[in-house]
Subunit: 308 residues, 4 copies
């Protein structure tokens, strides 16, 4: 794999996620302006893979990711990456170094929301300047055309740009983590590891009350736990929905393949978005009666009666 697109610009948390992908080291790294552009470049073959935010994000883009991956040519998630969210306050190379001297601070609105308590306590008089991304705000400090004194950005960007660090660890919630995914063209399915995640999208072809419960039951009766579920409007008009689902397990696991085959029977538009190793260290527990071995036992028993 040679080239990786990511939701740029350079210095965002998405780049931090990219830095945690072993295969991306030494590869061509392409910052792009939107999630949809990044995914489309994977689709067209311009890049081999893309790193985009999946769940919660400093820079936004999550619903964009869900929507973009749910339509268009099929893509597969091949890896997920967790990035701890920590912020630094950086200043102009030649600007003020004292917090009390700051007049204005630039950053993405989502990042600002995550340092608000710190900001109210420490820089109550600094005005907020909206930036297109945390990285754009930080880069602006090197640009004569901007006039703000400081920016809130990711630690790795602060170091990369060599900007003076005015404060660090300023995030209001300690231990926050954002989830990113590496997306490739459909076709390459990572091997099961025993602690995997599978993502899928289930479009609901018509207005069908109770469809969600039906979907849930197909999973719960097979002991498949869901780690994320979202209903999303399809974009055509509100009221038509699809479900975006992450579940615990790999398509190669019997209980997962049985559940997905059942979904496919009921909702033929279901889209498989990949099975890949879970980034969370904590292993999951499945009911004993849903192991592959149990599935084989069950089939063997039926077989033994039919073949008698």
């Amino acid at each position: 794999m040679k080239s990786f697109a990511y939701l740029g610009p350079e210095g965002t948390f998405t780049e931090a996620a990219l830095n945690r992908v072993p295969e991306a080291q030494g590869a061509d790294q392409v910052p792009l302006g939107s999630v949809i552009t990044a995914l489309n470049q994977v689709r067209t073959g311009e890049v081999d893979a893309a790193v985009v935010p999946m769940e919660n994000s400093v820079e936004g883009g999550v619903t964009a990711t869900l929507d973009a991956i749910a339509s268009g040519d099929a893509l597969h998630i091949i890896r997920e990456v967790l990035v701890p969210i920590s912020f630094m306050l950086v200043g102009r190379p030649d600007g003020p170094r004292e917090l009390s001297e700051l007049h204005s601070v630039a950053t993405h609105t989502h990042a600002w929301a995550q340092v608000r308590i710190w900001a109210e306590a420490n820089i109550p008089n600094a005005a907020y300047v909206q930036a297109a991304s945390t990285a754009a705000g930080a880069h602006g400090l090197l640009d004569e055309a901007t006039s703000y004194d400081a920016a809130v950005c990711a630690p790795h960007l602060a170091k990369k740009l060599g900007l003076p660090i005015l404060a660090e660890g300023i995030e209001d919630t300690e231990g926050a983590v954002t989830r990113f995914v590496v997306v490739a063209r459909a076709g390459s399915l990572p091997e099961p590891t025993g602690s995997d995640k599978t993502s899928l999208v289930v479009p609901l072809p018509e207005d069908r009350p109770g469809a969600l419960v039906q979907i849930m039951n197909q999973f719960s009766t097979r002991g498949v736990n869901l780690s994320r579920i979202e209903s999303r409007p399809t974009g055509e008009y509100l009221g038509k929905y699809f479900f975006s689902i992450d579940l615990e397990g790999h398509l190669a696991d019997e209980r997962v393949s049985a559940a997905l085959a059942a979904l496919y029977r009921m909702f033929p538009g279901v889209r498989f978005l990949g099975s890949y190793p879970r980034a969370e260290g904590v292993p999951y527990v499945i009911p004993e009666y849903t192991t592959d071995e149990a599935y084989q036992r069950g089939r063997a028993w039926v077989r033994s009666i039919l073949d008698r």
Copy 2:
């Protein structure tokens, strides 16, 4: 197949059921005193099959059938037979012919319960004499040792014994039907016909609240409809239960085999009691997404991803 046991004595409704089994015509027919004796003779090979009541009955014996078939060596139901329930009032060859002259009437308590309204209206002064079966009551009319004037019995027995018919069609509920089953040793599975029934028993190994809902869900998520369900104490002590279940479909149907394999994974003591043609003429409808063809489509889809 040469010999059929049935819940006797001769002349009961169970014999009427036996008369409706094509393979039993010309075969050896063995009336036995209890359901358990009949089933045990199948188990030991003394007879090839037995006809016993399964659901509702004039002579009782239903719970006995459920319990007897649920334990001991495995047996398979290979056919079900519906018998319309109609009663005649028959008298002594040399006894009174007028209803108003009758002093006492013998029959099985269950049969008596089913003609009570007629009896109260037409023979209000006749005393009820308990008999061990409808047939025993009727046979007794030919016996000097008994003293009652009349008996309530099945039409075919009345004719067979040549007893004077005092009234016919005296059942209080018109159109009642009783279900009997033909039971053979495990091993012979009738071919699927498209309108089949499958019987099974699910013992609950420990006190497990919610087990019933779990079982129900395994069926409902696969579009398998249940036509009968009963929880029965295992006999050891009250509180330990098994479920006796009839469902619509044949073990060779994908949705049924998937549901049964799932049950087996959860409750390894599940016992398969046979798949056989349904006697009810009305065909059942299954959801389109649970046909064999849908199952094959679902598997093929999963396969296409795994094999890519």
Copy 3:
């Protein structure tokens, strides 16, 4: 309460159940020939209550009870009684005392089924004579018109009749117990004790696949556990069903009344058959979120928002 009917004749296990009902001591005790007769005498006021078998039985009558209580004027179960099932072999006052000398043994077919293993081991050559009840078989030993040597009956009858006891504890399954219920006219609801049972009947007005799962879910979402469930044909014709259900709890318990109100909304033909103390000593555990106190908390929370 002055008069109690029971499924007779005297000496059956049902009479043994009656003997365990405190209110019945010193009361008028009326043996009747069938469950339906006993229940109808309660309906007409001829007796104040009736004792009938409910679940498993030596004498049969269980399905008869379920059916008879499900139709006709409303009745309420006010108590349940458990009777240990044990059998004695009794002989003629002037008959043989050695097992090896016995030529024939009379009893009800269900009772015979429960002593078969013992009989095969100890009196292999004795012929079986069908009797209308265990009591009828035993009483017959005092009657010159019968010719069998022995009978299988309940211990309390053996003692009452003063018959010679040839063997005792001959039941094949140790510790078996049969459940009887005391039935009165609708209207008297015993107080909740904290360990109660509620019985009901849910007729399904039309052919409604999935109705059973709907019913189950109304209970399981409210933490109500079922201790017995049976689907029964209504008697009109096979295929129309009602469900006979016992659940853990009293109608005065919030979770039970909510579940029953929900059933009533869906199936207005539901029939309440009584809430009464459970005979099993073992208390049941309900989820913390389904206690009366939890229900009150939930309502208070909603109230606090609506009243704001």
Copy 4:
């Protein structure tokens, strides 16, 4: 009500939503830099209400809304507003008017994603310039410090700023609609209209597999349909989740209050976020057995037995 905050700056689609709120006409309108700031001003009383995006959005901010409303002092949604999404391409007052002359176009990344197909067909050579919002991009055209030729923005802003319109209706998906909500301090519950929506948040206190199915069942057994569901990490660390749910109905509807009371019993951290009229014109259908009248019937039936 006098003052409304909204996710600014002026000219965004959120302002377009504000313009559709009758009570906001003539009121003080306060554009704010982030959803969290807007909601916090409601909490502190600086404004009376805030308009923020809820589901799908051109400017992002949706997950921010879900997260911000789920924590902190209680807020209530009192209205929802649908805004059709349509884009115009506007130019500099003194800039080029021909599409072929455009060198660069600025807008928010989400808006860019929604006009990409049009852009590739009509302005394939124009570079994309990331802006903090669609409004910021358009306002920049009036600013000497920026150098791009055009911007993609909402129609109402194009008209307000009097910028030259280079193209209109350039959105790739026709008929797209975005949903906004009006949020006020807890306490004011709009009257039920018969076509309402209720929003809530259910935090899962511990890792509880199966919790989602439990929640779903509480709704489905009461005939309450969900129109949106999302699982969201709580922010503390991934793996702790809350569910954000919209359902059809008003808290004053019996089936809704029963379902919410049940949720409260199971998950006492549940947060009610308001019941308010649905913006979608299409009325919803509820099962007959879940109307208020059905609930009253059910309760009356139980009452009639308990009071007997």
